[in-house]
Each structure stands twice: as structure tokens, then as C-alpha cells.
């Protein structure tokens, strides 16, 4: 079975209203889009054949992304450019295939994800820049994490913040942040924002978050 399928990796974006599609709903949506596009996708060979579809790093509901990854297989040798075009014609608003490629890196090589947060220029968000500087310079950043095995645990994520930068654009405050991601250690951006909100007892007004990259240990793009 293995020999007559071609492995494909799609880099796609999820923006606008598509950020309201949950991960589970996204799976269904992608499968239906593939069917509409009449892509010769490979099905699992069990009693209950399903479209083979792998997402190495799920995206939380409410987040946009310009760099999402999914793997699937096709049973015919069709040009990647054609897959991309047919797929895009069948996708709903907000979802877009940016690139189709052969998979190079293994899923286990994922080490980081990068995010850009935008705090709009509204009175409710005043002073956010200073608080962000203060928060991210703390020597220890303890967060509550829920684990299925251990229940609620407290963990220090200071070392999971591999990089950050605070800047302004169009009067809005932005935070670029690079977090541990993947199978070894995975810190979701909501873990950081929740800890920040808790530390200052604040709520954000209209914060938007975009995942901008998934990276490997050596800082190469996960592709």
C-alpha cells in the first residue's frame, strides 16, 4: 500500500472568520474540501476507510495563522501546483493553501512556534506595553497547566519563551513571541496570555493573535 501513495505537505493560512473553526471542525472541513476538489487523496486501508490527514500542531480556536501545516497523501502523480489550485478553489473563506511540497522535516523535529499579538489602540489597553515588558522580564513565570495524567500542575515557562520583541505599529502595541512547541514541550500562546491576565488582574480588549511560523530546533522552517 505504502508504495503507491505520494506524501504531500500543505502549508496553509487560517484567517478572518476561519479562526472560529475549531480543530475538530477543521478536519471535517478539509476532508470535504478535498472531496469537492476531487483530489485523489489516499484513504486509510482499514475496515473503515478514512481520508489520511495529519496535523502536526493543532491551532486553538480563536487564533489566526499564516503558517499551518497538514500532511496527506495522493494516489496519482499530479503537479503540486495543480493540487494547490484545485484545493484553493474548494476551500471556504479564510482558509488558503499557501504551498504544497513534499515533506522534508519529521513531525518530531518541531521545536518552536512564533506568534504575533496585536493589542489595539483603545483606552482599555493603556499601559499594556509596560506590563508586557515587566511580565516577560520576570525571572520565573509560573503557570497552571492541566495534564490528563497529573491533573493541575504548576510549571515555570520562562525557558519556553525562546524570544520576544515588543513593538508598535499603526498605534497598536504588538508582541512577537517564540514559544516551545512540538512533542517534547508544548506551550500554547493562551497559556502565556492567561498567565499575563492573571498576574495583572486585567482583561484585554479585542486582542488578536496570529501564529506566524512553525520552526525546528535549528530555527529552520518546519516544512
Amino acid at each position: 500500500m505504502e508504495d503507491n501513495r505520494i506524501h504531500v505537505r500543505a502549508i496553509f493560512s487560517k484567517k478572518g472568520r476561519a479562526k472560529f473553526i475549531s480543530h475538530l471542525d477543521l478536519l471535517r472541513c478539509i476532508q470535504r474540501s478535498m472531496k469537492r476538489a476531487k483530489l485523489p487523496v489516499w484513504y486509510t486501508q482499514g475496515f473503515n476507510p478514512r481520508v489520511y490527514l495529519m496535523f502536526p500542531l493543532a491551532l486553538s480556536l480563536g487564533l489566526s495563522s499564516s503558517y499551518e501545516v497538514m500532511d496527506f497523501s495522493v494516489t496519482e502523480n499530479i503537479p503540486f501546483e495543480e493540487i494547490k489550485e484545485r484545493f484553493n478553489n474548494a476551500l471556504p473563506e479564510g482558509l488558503r493553501i499557501e504551498k504544497i511540497t513534499a515533506p522534508i522535516k519529521k513531525h518530531t523535529e518541531i521545536a518552536y512556534a512564533e506568534y504575533v499579538l496585536t493589542f489595539p489602540d483603545v483606552s482599555e489597553n493603556s499601559g499594556i506595553k509596560e506590563k508586557l515588558y515587566e511580565f516577560l522580564s520576570l525571572p520565573i513565570i509560573n503557570v497552571e497547566k492541566f495534564s490528563k495524567k497529573k491533573g493541575n500542575i504548576t510549571t515555570d515557562i520562562k525557558n519556553d519563551i525562546a524570544d520576544y520583541r515588543i513593538f508598535e505599529s499603526d498605534g497598536n502595541v504588538n508582541l512577537y513571541i517564540k514559544l516551545s512547541a512540538g512533542t517534547e514541550r508544548n506551550i500554547g500562546i493562551n497559556t502565556v496570555t492567561d498567565a499575563f491576565k492573571k498576574a495583572y488582574g486585567i482583561e484585554f480588549f479585542d486582542l488578536s493573535i496570529e501564529r506566524t511560523k512553525i520552526l525546528c530546533e535549528n530555527n529552520e522552517d518546519f516544512i
Binding site: F20, S22, D25, L26, R32, K35, G62, L91, D206
Partner: protein
């Protein structure tokens, strides 16, 4: 902008995708090029409403007209309703994100009585006066259709126009007339007067209802030149009627999330409790070719992994073998699941089961509806026990080990023996299973009995019948439970009894119930069909505040010569036929199905032709 505001707030509620639109297949138009805007409202949450076939048909039908724009609107779940009210977000169309109070039509589909308070709540959320008499402008015109409209009297105070019967032609005629009269700057009353001349249009405010001292209806008198009797609309040719080539494909999971093809309309069976079996007559079917073409087109355009066939009784299609053969070949090839609901057991042949076995399915569902042959004869469910057993036998041989059985409690003439008979039927199926040497090895039989409380409905031979009182139903439920011996193999479930009595009162209610619905809604009743929101005591208070009782509507026996609240509506089947059927029921006499013999229900006489198209 409303859309931005909603998108900011929606992440704080459950299932935000219910409120943000953008689904594949949703129709966006340039509003400057649109003449008539229609808000199609389903008075329940998105997940339920998006499963409804009628809405899909009418949505596509209206949007196929370049100058009409139909949008979808659902009842927001209470968490989002709170957000909407706190942030001054009016009810909006999911396509344009514009307030529906600015639309030309606000149209509701009434699928079940327990959605009525949601209709009021949605009008209120729209910023539109809830009472029709308080809406003076031409737009929005509030209309309603669907099966409950066969007795729409409880909602007469709130709705401007009821549309009776099938909507494919009627909706467009109404919108065309509206456009014409809008250009002439007509008043609301002028439009309603003209609309009332269209067949199938019922303008409740043009009818004056008088009551007798005993609370029954004395007379219903039309004004404004409206017809004394309003006849429902039907589509003549099912192969030519509009059917959508695409559906809106939701992101979030809905109750029925799949492609659906309508197989036939109407029913030949004549089960005496079943409203759908009478109000959708005459029986008309699509040809196997049409069904196949429509299924294929929908699967291709939506990408759905499942397709189902919709009708009251798919196995009554005259060409079912061809239909299933072509569909099974196609779906197997395309890796699409074919789901087949509503299969009657009396023509569940081995050949058919072989075909169905090719299609993945987890369990079997039968609806004997009653536990003894006498009771089944009374309700005209022409299935005998031997047929149930042979169908189960074939199914067990085919590897099935779960059976779902549907029954009703509180049927007219029901005795304790009939109730014990339900348990005995299930026990016999259990015994059958264990007596079979070729039963599935190492497996146990699991039977789930689902018991509904009988609700007498208008336009059925049982419309005259009283519903059992709540205490009597509870007694019968206990009797049934204590009659089951194989507790390990048989499980029983039922709905709350005090829901069924309200359902009966609303189904058979008159215009005075409108005040009760209004009061119940004001007390906070919404989503009454959801157990977690249903509040019986608030409904009881509302009835007594209006000096009415549920019992008058639900538990009273109606006289044959009484004027019913729905008597001025003509659903083609005659009242004489219902009386005749009611009398036959009392004598346990059955009526053959329409294909075997015409029983002169009145439909073919009124439509001027045979029911089977020739």
C-alpha cells in the same frame, strides 16, 4: 460595524461558529442589486436549524432569483443571547450581518409547537414589535410556514401571513407580489389584502373568531374579501420541482450534517395518530433517475461524506430496488456513506437487507408503535407481530445485535394489556435472538424501547381524542417498567410527560392561547423543546393568568360536529374522512394503504386526479 462587534464578542460563548457565517455554499449578494430581502428564521439553535431540509430548499430557491436575497437566522443559544442584549446586537442575517428588522420579510418555519416562544423571542431580539397589530409599516412582513401552520391559531396574534402547504411556488409568488406593491408604495393592509387572494395564503387578522360559552368556537368570519376556507398548496410534479444543487456546509457539527435527497412526499399508510401522514398528502414520488442525479450533484458540490434519503416512508417508493442499486453503486465508489432512515418493516425483504448490509450501519430501528395487534389495528399501523419477528430474524442473521423500538403510550382505547404487550414484544425479540443457532456469536442482544406520549394532533383521525392525563401516563409508564423482565437486554426511555400535555394544548389550541404564549415568554420561557430550559410551572401560571387551562385543550374529547380552530384551513383530506376513520378505529378496523385501495380521503377529488400521477 455589526460584524466586527460580533466577532469580538463571540469567542466568549459556546460554539462561536454558530454565529459567524462564512460557510461554504452560503450566498452573498450585492445588496444594491437586490429588490427583496428575506430572513429565513429557524426558531431553534443553529445545530438544529441547519439540519432542516425545508430551509435548504427554500434558501436555494429564493437565492436562485437574482433580485431576491434570502439569509439564514437561528435562535441564539442563551449565552449568546445575553451577549447580544448586553451589547445592543440585534438579530442579524448570517450572510450580510445586517439587522433583520430592515429586511422585507421575516419568515419562520414552524416544525414543532415547542418552538413558539422562540419565535417571539427572535422577533423581540430583532427589535421588531412582537404583536402583528403593533407593526404598521409594509416591512418587515412576518410570515410563517411549516407543518404546525395546519393549526396556526395560537400564533395568530404575532404573524402577518401564514403560508399553507408546500412553499416552492407560494414563496416566490408572495415575494413577487410584495415587490410589485412596494414599488406602488402600498400600505401593509393593501399588501395583505392582495396577498390573501393567493391560494395558500392565510392572513389571520382578516378573520374574526367568536366563541361559545363553553369555550368552543362559534364561528370564524373572514373580512377584506379573504376566502372563507384557505386551501394548502401542493407541487404537482416532483421531478420538475426545484431542488438545490448545493447546500450550505456548516463548520460546526449539526444534528444531521450530510447531503439529503428528498425521495417522495406524502404517505400511503394512513397511521391514525400521524399528522405528517395526512397533511402532506397526496403521495408523490421522484423518479429513481431524479433521485440519483440530485444525490450525485449534492455529493459533488458539498463534499459530504454521507448522503441520506428523506421521506415519510422511503421503502414505499415504487422503484426502490433501482434506486438503492444505483445509489449504493455510486456511494461505494465515491466512499460516501448512504444512510437510510424510515424503512418500514413490513417490506423489509431479505434482498433489500442484503443491499443495506453493504452499507455500514450500526443498528436497526423499528416503529411498531403499539404492543398488541388490537392496538396496532386501532392506530392503523398495519404491521403484525410475525412481520416484526421475521424482520428481526433476518437482521440478527445479518449480524445485528442492537434493535431500537419506538412505541406510544396513551393511545385511544389503550388498556393495561396493550402496555404489557410492549414489554412482551421486546421479550419475544430477546427470546428469538437467543433461540437462533446462527445468531452473532459471543454477543448479547440490546433492545432500546423509546416511548413517546401520544399527542392528539389536528388533521388526523385522532384529532377528536383526549390525551391521557399526566397522572394516567405516569401510571402507565410504571406499569411498563415493571412488566420488563430482561432488564439486562431491554432499556426504556421516554420524554417528560408534562411536555406532551403542553404540546397537545398548543397543537389543538385556538387564538386565545396566543396570550398564554406571550405571558410564558415574558416569564422567561424559551427553548421549550430543550429539557434544561423547559419550565412547566411557568406555563401553568401563564394558562391560569389567561383564565385558560391546558386540560381544556389537551384532555377534552372533541365532538364530531364541533367547530375546530383549524376548520377554515383545508389540507385536502376531508373532516368526514377523519370521522369515518375515527369510528373505524374504535371498532379496531384497519384501512388499507392507498396503493392497495383508495379510501376516498378527499385528496384526489380536490386535486382533480389520481394520487399516483396517472
Amino acid at each position: 460595524m455589526l460584524q466586527e462587534k460580533i466577532e469580538q464578542l463571540v469567542l466568549n460563548v459556546t460554539k462561536p461558529a454558530r454565529y459567524t457565517g462564512g460557510e461554504f455554499g452560503s450566498v452573498i449578494k450585492d445588496k444594491s442589486k437586490v429588490d427583496v430581502r428575506f430572513a429565513f428564521c429557524f426558531p431553534d439553535v443553529y445545530d438544529v436549524g441547519m439540519s432542516h431540509l425545508g430551509m435548504k430548499i427554500l434558501y436555494s430557491l429564493k437565492n436562485a432569483r437574482e433580485n431576491f436575497w434570502c439569509e439564514r437566522v437561528f435562535a441564539p443559544w442563551p449565552d449568546f443571547e445575553k451577549v447580544m442584549r448586553e451589547n445592543d446586537i440585534p438579530l442579524y442575517g448570517l450572510e450580510s450581518f445586517e439587522p433583520i428588522k430592515d429586511f422585507d420579510f421575516i419568515g419562520f418555519t414552524l416544525q414543532y409547537e415547542l418552538s413558539y416562544t422562540n419565535v417571539l423571542n427572535m422577533l423581540d431580539l430583532s427589535g421588531v414589535p412582537v404583536l402583528a397589530k403593533d407593526r404598521h409599516e409594509l416591512s418587515p412582513i412576518v410570515i410563517a410556514g411549516g407543518p404546525c401552520v395546519c393549526n396556526p391559531e395560537p400564533l395568530a396574534d404575532f404573524i402577518d401571513i401564514f403560508v399553507l402547504g408546500e412553499g416552492e411556488e407560494l414563496n416566490l409568488e408572495l415575494m413577487d407580489l410584495y415587490l410589485e406593491m412596494k414599488k406602488l408604495k402600498a400600505s401593509k393592509e393593501e399588501f395583505l389584502t392582495a396577498a390573501s387572494k393567493i391560494e395558500g395564503v392565510y392572513v389571520p387578522s382578516f378573520y374574526d373568531v367568536l366563541y361559545n360559552d363553553d369555550g368552543t368556537i362559534k364561528s370564524v368570519t373572514p373580512s377584506h374579501g379573504a376566502p372563507a376556507v384557505i386551501k394548502k398548496r401542493i407541487i404537482k410534479d416532483m421531478d420538475k420541482v426545484f431542488y438545490p444543487k448545493d447546500f450550505v456546509v456548516p463548520f460546526t457539527e449539526t444534528v444531521h450534517d450530510r447531503a439529503v435527497v428528498e425521495v417522495l412526499r406524502g404517505c400511503i399508510r394512513g397511521c391514525r395518530f400521524c399528522q405528517a401522514g395526512f397533511i402532506y398528502r397526496p403521495f408523490r414520488e421522484k423518479s429513481s433517475e431524479t433521485i440519483f442525479e440530485e444525490a450525485k450533484a449534492l455529493c459533488e458540490s458539498t463534499g459530504y461524506e454521507e448522503v441520506s434519503l428523506s421521506s415519510l416512508s422511503t421503502s414505499d417508493h415504487s422503484d426502490i430496488s433501482t434506486m438503492l442499486n444505483t445509489l449504493i453503486d455510486y456511494t461505494e465508489n465515491e466512499k460516501v456513506n448512504l444512510s437510510l432512515p424510515s424503512l418500514r418493516i413490513d417490506n423489509f425483504s431479505e434482498e433489500l437487507l442484503e443491499k443495506i448490509k453493504k452499507v455500514r450501519k450500526s443498528g436497526l430501528t423499528f416503529a411498531p408503535e403499539a404492543g398488541t395487534q388490537r392496538m396496532r389495528n386501532v392506530i392503523n399501523k398495519n404491521v403484525d407481530e410475525e412481520e416484526i419477528m421475521s424482520a428481526c430474524k433476518i437482521a440478527f442473521e445479518g449480524g445485528y445485535t442492537t434493535v431500537k423500538l419506538y412505541f406510544m403510550l396513551g393511545l385511544p382505547t389503550e388498556t393495561d394489556e396493550d402496555i404489557v404487550g410492549i414489554a412482551e414484544t421486546a421479550e419475544r425479540i430477546v427470546n428469538l435472538f437467543y433461540s437462533m443457532p446462527n445468531r452473532p456469536r459471543g454477543k448479547h442482544i440490546q433492545i432500546s424501547i423509546s416511548v413517546a406520549t401520544f399527542v392528539p394532533k389536528p388533521f388526523t383521525p385522532f384529532e377528536f381524542e383526549p390525551q391521557d392525563t399526566v397522572s394516567e401516563i405516569e401510571r402507565k409508564q410504571h406499569l411498563l417498567l415493571s412488566s420488563i423482565k430482561s432488564r439486562k437486554n431491554i432499556s426504556v426511555s421516554w420524554h417528560k410527560v408534562n411536555v406532551s400535555i403542553l404540546e397537545a394544548a398548543l397543537a389543538k389550541g385556538d387564538r386565545r392561547i396566543g396570550d398564554v404564549i406571550y405571558k410564558a415568554w415574558k416569564k422567561g420561557c424559551i427553548f421549550d423543546s430543550w429539557d434544561e430550559f423547559y419550565n412547566f410551572s411557568k406555563w401553568q401560571e401563564s394558562f391560569s393568568d389567561s383564565s385558560l387551562t391546558m386540560e381544556f385543550y389537551a384532555n377534552r374529547k372533541l365532538r364530531y360536529d364541533e367547530v375546530f380552530p383549524w376548520d377554515h384551513l383545508d389540507y385536502l383530506v376531508s373532516k368526514e374522512f377523519f370521522i369515518k376513520e375515527n369510528k373505524k378505529a374504535k371498532m379496531s378496523e384497519t384501512t388499507p394503504n392507498c396503493r392497495l385501495e383508495c379510501s376516498a380521503c378527499g385528496v384526489s377529488k380536490k386535486t382533480g386526479g389520481a394520487c399516483f400521477g396517472g
